[in-house]
Amino acid sequence: MKKQWLFSGLLLSFLLFLSGCEPLTVFDPMGPQAALLKDVIWISIWTMLFVVVVVFIILIYILVKYRSTKTPSDYRPPIVKGNIWVEITTIGIPVLIIVFLSFVSVQSTYEAESVPKQFKDEEPMVIYAASSNWKWHFSYPEEDIETVNYLFLPTDRPVEFRLYSFDAISSFWIPQLAGQKYAMTGMITTLNLTATEEGEMQGRNANFSGEGFAEQTFNVSAVSQKEFDEWVKEVKNTAEPLDEKTFNKLLKPGHLGQKTFSSTHLDFSPPPEEHGEMSEEEMKKEMEQEQSDH
């Protein structure tokens, strides 16, 4: 069968490319979250490959054996009634596979959403990432600096991104560090990631958001804590502070290139309320605040 060879050939070349010389972005992790997802993806590829191979073998076997040109002209196919063992196998094996993958999925989803084990006790660094058509505004509240369209991250330090959007739904994605998450108006979503290797990466908005979508990318530099601190110091010394008027100009739809400021927009344009879990302390604080407001 020509066709079957063709399919197997394509499949094989597909696999060769996947495991090929220069790794694909998703298979070239620079941090534990992306490494975890890489493993999960490979587990699922191998499991699914097993399914595909079984189906292909049965298909080829049957097509070769029972084609009408191979069977005698007076051959009359029998009426075949179901066989309980055949049914049990064809239901049982898929069920087992799905149960297995369900475990993988649940376990890895919980893991991907939380701070990696080796950094559990460290206080994560908070960065606000806000998208506006068609750029990213990154605010470092602790350092009190803000960048547009590029990120500096210290390695071996967990980072908690708080994502929101000024307009269209966007999706914050640095494939070499972690999976993506939506940034939306009126609420905050959080994304945990950690860079463990130094280097340059690309990040982007993955969710279609209109005319300038294709170019809504940003640069990510993962650097050592020392270098990071130096960078912060330099920004503090050289960059202008960000005022409301400048920021409103930045929000206008368009592309900007990279920009740096020595203060954040969070003071005059606070982020939406957090919807995530609050610690008890925070809850208490909030309630007190509310009471004193009245």
Partner: protein
């Protein structure tokens, strides 16, 4: 002058002007042609006013093929634009309009119409009925769909097309970020067509429950009818959600409400949820009829009974239930947390179990069979491996954590094309080729058909397999361009070649229709494939009353058993046959719908009021009209049957 400005296309290019001229000229040529050949009367009495399910099916088929070409041209333009990094064939704005209309046209106006075409033509024949339960409503369904499709396509030359994707996520699609009228076309054209679909759903449920031939118990129905039943149940449960979502979106855009806006308490996530609560069942609405067709075709050309009939039926039912429980997998990345994602991840992957069972049952149907490689069978055999790959990648996407990396990338695009193309397009081409002789009285040429198949099958693989790789390499979907350093170039180029192969295949299909219409033999008998179910027990071409005498059924393969087991299908004498009358009302009413829709798109209220009044008047007239149908006398039936007697019965 001010008034006319709103109808101008925002990004006019020579292509659009040329298309305007071409559309205008074609329209004039068609109208002049009909007048010259004096065909207005024929067109009106035989087609525009018909309530015959077979003719309605054929009109759906023609429309679906036209839309396939419209959507196909969109696809070629997209693949050409992305075939090279930094290409400047299309601007971002044009590209966005094109991928939006491609998705909408293909899903709503091609795939939906195609499955409705085959259900219309085949289901009444398969269950031994004279027509559907509500023939006039059926005509209304078709014309609503047709007018919706025409209204949507009009956006290309008048006013400009929507450009927020076929998913039309708010707030991007709202007035705040898309002030242009394009999205109004989306909201209103889909509302009109969707109404038609909903009516079809109800019509076919009643038809299948109430109008089966005596003896055809539910568990004796052919699988295509089973899949049609479940599909229409899905339609009836899912489409109201879309109706509501579109109505809310329309109000946001036209009347300033705040359902999905960014400010004033609007909730954009609500749109995403509504859309996919409808949208996931929708993909099964598309694929279940295909499963039915494959069951018929594989059994016919293996010369064997279908393996595992009961488990086939149970799987369809299970799939249709699960289809409502998985919608969140379209936005695992919206931040709802690990628990919610885990639950929906499990329900999603669970769908693979009944789907897998069906694949094995088709394989075992061929076991010990006598496999004939006809064109419909080739499509079915191509379906199994390609759909398996599409399906297992679906399971990969269903793993929530991994989906954070695949979501919104070309990997996802590869997945859904590799399920929808073999699952819908292959099936429809298989079904069309298979039932063609019943529809038109001649067979499509097998040689050209096989050429077309190979082009389409190889084209599909070449067009979509590379996307898995570029997706994993970080290429997001819906990007009109990318830079050379990104390294996606080669995969997109391959993909473009695949698209060309697909285009070649479709051109061959058109050529095949022309060639076969001209040269194929008309002397093919009633049952040219040696098939097993009731639709082949009618005359070719099928007389308007379908069966001179209602068949009596006592097995799953009544025709096969009457041919080879000596059972009699037709036991009664020919009697007078009661048939419904033609009516021009559905057609006229939907013209009012079209006008009202156009008025709504441009907020021209007087036009809307007048057209709405027209619809109301027609509804009123219909409510008080008495129409008891007509009878074809036994004499006349006998004469028709004798004239057609070529083979023995």
């Amino acid at each position: 002058m001010e008034f006319f400005k709103q109808f101008a296309v925002p990004n006019p290019t020579p292509t659009i002007y040329l298309s305007m001229v071409a559309i205008g000229l074609t329209l004039i040529a068609v109208l002049a042609g009909i007048t010259y050949f004096k065909k207005w009367g024929y067109l009106w009495s035989e087609w525009l006013t018909t309530v015959d399910h077979k003719r309605i099916g054929i009109m759906y088929l023609i429309s679906a093929l036209l839309m396939l070409f419209r959507g196909g041209v969109d696809a070629l333009m997209m693949r050409a634009q992305t075939s090279m990094p930094g290409n400047e064939l299309l601007s971002a704005a044009e590209y966005n309009e094109i991928f939006t209309t491609h998705g909408v046209v293909m899903i709503f106006f091609m795939a939906m119409a195609f499955i409705t075409a085959l259900m219309n033509f085949v289901v009444p024949l398969q269950i031994g009925a004279r027509d559907v339960a509500f023939p006039r409503l059926n005509a209304l369904s078709f014309w609503l769909y047709f007018m919706g499709a025409m209204l949507f396509n009009l956006s290309f030359v008048i006013g400009g097309s929507p450009s927020s994707g076929w998913t039309s996520y708010f707030p991007l699609a709202g007035n705040e970020l898309s002030p242009h009228i394009g999205t109004n076309y989306y909201m209103i054209a889909l509302q009109i067509a969707g109404l038609g679909t909903l009516i079809t759903g109800i019509n076919f449920i009643v038809t299948i429950f109430k109008m089966r031939a005596p003896g055809m118990k539910l568990m004796k129905m052919p699988l295509f009818t089973w899949s049609a039943l479940i599909t229409n149940l899905l339609i009836t449960f899912a489409f109201p959600v879309l109706t509501v979502a579109l109505a809310m979106g329309t109000m946001d855009r036209l009347f300033g409400t705040h359902f999905f806006t960014m400010d004033n308490g609007g909730m954009a996530m609500l749109w995403a949820n509504f859309f996919w609560v409808w949208g996931h069942p929708e993909v099964y609405i598309l694929v279940l009829p295909a499963f039915g067709i494959y069951s018929e075709v594989i059994s016919t050309f293996s010369k064997r009974n279908l393996y595992g009939y009961t488990s086939m039926v149970v799987s369809i039912v299970v799939i249709s239930t699960l289809a409502f429980l998985v919608w969140v997998h379209h936005f695992f990345t919206m931040g709802q947390g690990a628990l919610v994602n885990s639950i929906f991840s499990i329900t999603t992957m669970a769908i693979a179990i009944p789907t897998g069972i069906k694949i094995f049952n088709w394989l075992f149907t061929m076991w010990k069979g006598k496999i004939q490689f006809t064109v419909p069978m080739l499509y079915s055999l191509g379906f199994i491996p390609i759909f398996t790959i599409g399906g297992v990648t679906g399971v990969m996407l269903g793993i929530a954590s991994a989906d954070y990396q695949y979501h919104n990338t070309m990997f996802l695009v590869a997945h859904f094309h590799l399920v929808i193309i073999p699952g819908v397009v292959f099936a429809m081409l298989a079904g069309m080729t298979y039932w063609w002789p019943k529809m038109f009285g001649f067979m499509l040429n097998e040689r050209i058909g096989k050429w077309a198949f190979w082009n389409i099958a190889i084209g599909t693989c070449l067009a979509f397999f590379p996307m898995f790789i570029s997706g994993l390499d970080g290429q997001a979907r819906r990007m009109y361009t990318y830079s050379e350093v990104a390294g996606f170039g080669i995969w997109n180029l391959l993909s473009f070649f695949g698209a060309l192969g697909l285009a070649m295949g479709f051109i061959l299909i058109v050529f095949n229709v022309y060639y076969s219409a001209r040269y194929a033999s008309r002397d093919i008998g009633d049952d040219p494939w040696d098939a097993r179910t009731l639709e082949w027990a009618t005359r070719t071409p099928v007389p308007e009353y379908n069966f001179a005498v209602t068949p009596q059924v006592d097995s799953r393969e009544p025709l096969w058993d009457s041919k080879y087991e000596g059972k009699t299908l037709f036991k009664e004498e020919i009697k007078d046959i009661h048939m419904p009358n033609n009516s021009g009302q559905p057609f006229i009413m939907t013209i009012f719908f079209f006008v009202a829709g156009f008025g709504l798109v441009f907020s021209m209220w007087p036009v809307v009021y007048v057209a709405a009044a027209g619809i109301a008047v027609l509804l009123f007239i219909r409510s008080f009209e008495r129409d008891d149908g007509r009878h074809i006398h036994a004499e006349e039936v006998r004469e028709t049957e004798n004239n057609k007697r070529g083979d023995t019965r």
